[in-house]
Amino acid sequence: MVKIRKLSEKGHEEFDVSKEEAIEMFQAEQGRYFVVDSKTKKLVSEVNIEDDQELMMVPIIRGG
């Protein structure tokens, strides 16, 4: 299982999902969110997702 904390308009949403579901979630929000490892604070790519990993979905901010 992968633990995801998503910073969204609903506040901090937390999901416990399988690796495949996590990848689906990230793909659905591609371009809108960064996926960051909660511990290392580094960006995570879909291929590197591991079981029991804690991830954060951080909104991508736009500039003018």
Binding site: R5, L7, S8, E9, G11, H12, F34, V36, K41, L43, V58, P59, I60, I61, R62, G63, G64
Partner: protein, 177 residues
């Protein structure tokens, strides 16, 4: 040709000459036309005003009813719950920001009011209100950043710092004053 006649009048309003004019047939016909047009215009205007008054009255009743609905205990409870939720979300976001940037940086942001970071050899300053600046020839210039309204400020700061770290080229333009 119309004929003019002067009459001296003495009454409670004063003493004056009144000039009366006999109208020609052409003038009578002209006056008839003018009066008919004026009557038509006035009737139309009265109808328009009546429609407007009717509409305004309906809007007034509607606004009064809506306000009545918004003053019910049910709405007051809803507002209270939502504000509490927002406060909890803010506190949660604040805690996450502290974990995300580390206790030391968080305290610095609180005490100094800003954080400095370097990306691609450029120095950036992020203040505690979420404003982003870039150092350009010894001076910090404010950058244009679009803040999503739904994000609590600490979550926005996390997002801004992450975007700055991962895609610094996003922030190219200066903010308009």
């Amino acid at each position: 040709m119309s004929e003019k006649e002067k009459i001296l009048v003495v009454d409670e309003k004063g003493i004056r000459y009144l000039t009366t004019t006999n109208l020609t047939v052409f003038q009578i016909l002209q006056l008839q036309k003018t009066l008919q047009t004026r009557i038509l215009h006035r009737k139309t205007r009265i109808q328009d005003l009546a429609i407007q008054a009717n509409r305004a009255e309906k809007e007034l009743i509607n606004a009064q009813n809506e306000l009545q609905k918004l003053l019910t205990p049910q709405v007051k409870d809803y507002i209270k719950v939502e504000l509490e939720k927002r406060q909890r979300a803010f506190e949660e976001a604040q805690q996450l920001l502290c974990e995300y940037i580390g206790e030391e940086q968080y305290q610095l942001l609180q005490s100094k009011g800003y954080l400095k970071t370097t990306q691609n050899n450029m120095v950036y300053k992020l203040d505690k209100n979420g404003n982003l600046y870039r150092k350009e020839s010894k001076e910090y210039k404010k950058l244009c950043v679009i803040r999503p309204q739904y994000l609590p400020l600490p979550d926005f700061i996390i997002s801004l710092l992450t975007t700055l770290r991962e895609k610094p080229q996003t922030f190219k333009h200066h903010a308009r004053r």
